[in-house]
């Protein structure tokens, strides 16, 4: 990827398409615009749900072309869409990037429309991928008083039982934890300090200036 930084405002992001990639997409001008749109629809469906080889075979038969050609065309479209969405490239930069493919104006516009209509959806799909860190989902709690145990028969121990739900990618992690009232107050004051740290001038300065 080439990004040209000139000054602090102008930032051009042009996609560099490899030779293979260009070759795969070279199939597109050879078919009707309606077919390109259909391939675009298939490419997006595949980004959403994963690829399905049967679709390639069906389309190849209808068009009378080898299956690889259809597959490469769709995959090339998928890659074009995901890379553009990943870098959030502007309309102008997108058009300039596809210029190198030497397609006609109509085809370029079809590709641009495909990008503009779907890039935020594609971005949100992409952002769900790198979740190898467990993320907070929810917390349920209840207050119990322990009255007895196997080793002690008369007790009055207040305890807070919590059910913490985390998500990790597509899995969920569930933990049952307990704490006592004093530790609970300590947890609250520590985490309130954490929230306050977002409001310091230092944090605000960073958040404002890195965009």
């Amino acid at each position: 990827m080439i990004g040209l930084l000139s000054g602090c405002r102008l930032f051009r992001m042009l996609l560099v398409l490899s030779e293979d990639h260009k070759e795969h997409l070279a199939f597109l001008p050879k078919v009707e615009p309606a077919v390109v749109r259909e391939f675009g629809r298939i490419a997006l469906e595949f980004i959403r749900r994963g690829a399905s080889p049967k679709i390639y075979e069906g389309a190849a038969r209808k068009l009378g072309v080898p299956v690889e050609m259809v597959q490469h065309g769709v995959e090339g479209l998928m890659f074009l869409m995901t890379e553009s969405s990943k870098h959030m490239i502007s309309e102008v930069d997108f058009l300039d990037s596809v210029l190198v493919l030497g397609f006609g104006e109509e085809l370029n516009q079809i590709l641009l429309q495909l990008y503009l209509q779907h890039h935020s959806q594609i971005r949100s799909i992409l952002s769900q991928l790198p979740s190898n860190l467990p993320a907070y989902h929810s917390l349920e709690w209840r207050l119990d008083v322990q009255l007895a145990s196997r080793s002690v028969r008369e007790q009055v121990i207040p305890m807070l039982t919590m059910h913490l739900l985390l998500t990790k990618g597509s899995d969920s992690i569930s933990r049952v934890l307990q704490t006592d009232p004093r530790t609970l107050l300590h947890l609250i004051s520590t985490l309130e300090a954490a929230l306050a740290s977002m409001k310091t001038s230092h944090a605000r300065r960073i958040l404002r200036n890195i965009k």
Partner: protein, 193 residues
């Protein structure tokens, strides 16, 4: 309090002045409490000068009976009258009952804590640490530019500690803190009942 036959027999021997005179009785009572409270088993716990003349097998039986009785009393939270009537039935003199009971009162709280810590329960949270970070980009998506928190809950379960790590946004952390505050409010209300 229900006591097994061997415990009853051991206590009866302990009550008998011909087996244990006043000073050796006091020493055995102290030693029994101490051996329950020490963190390491001490094989020399019965090697006290006052206990040297007593038959060693009898000594061990009485020590076992005494410690069993002590644990049962603490477990059941037995009051003075329960302990007294129990020991009276086992031929303890009023004086010996008093010595036993006052030593029991001295160590009761500590023994209660010890017993309460035995048993299975969910991991106990004892601390939390946090970091505020700014997510700029990752392998799949560029220009993310979002702040996020990394939270680490320190918990302990039966001696082994475990860290539960997770990330959350500011809104999620506010949700979490809000729920914890609700819990704290309900604890306060319950304590006023």
């Amino acid at each position: 309090m229900e006591l097994s036959e061997s415990v009853q027999r051991g206590l009866q021997s302990l009550a008998d002045p011909s087996s244990f005179d006043q000073s050796s009785f006091q020493v055995l009572v102290d030693v029994s409490f101490r051996s329950l409270l020490s963190s390491k088993g001490d094989p020399a716990v019965l090697d006290q000068p006052e206990l040297k003349q007593i038959d060693q097998i009898l000594l061990k039986q009485c020590h076992t009976a005494a410690t069993t009785f002590i644990l049962e009393a603490v477990k059941q939270n037995a009051d003075k009258s329960t302990i007294s009537s129990c020991l009276e039935e086992l031929t303890f003199s009023a004086e010996r009952i008093e010595i036993f009971y006052s030593t029991h009162q001295k160590h009761k709280k500590e023994l209660e804590c010890l017993l309460a810590s035995i048993g299975r329960r969910p991991a106990q949270i004892n601390d939390v640490s946090w970091r505020l970070q700014y997510h700029m980009k990752n392998a799949q998506v560029d220009k993310v530019n979002e702040p996020f928190y990394s939270i680490s809950l320190k918990s302990e379960n039966e001696g082994s500690s475990e860290d539960i790590n997770f990330t959350c946004t500011m809104e999620q952390l506010q949700d979490l803190v809000g729920k914890l505050k609700d819990a704290a409010k309900s604890v306060e209300k319950a304590s006023q009942m």
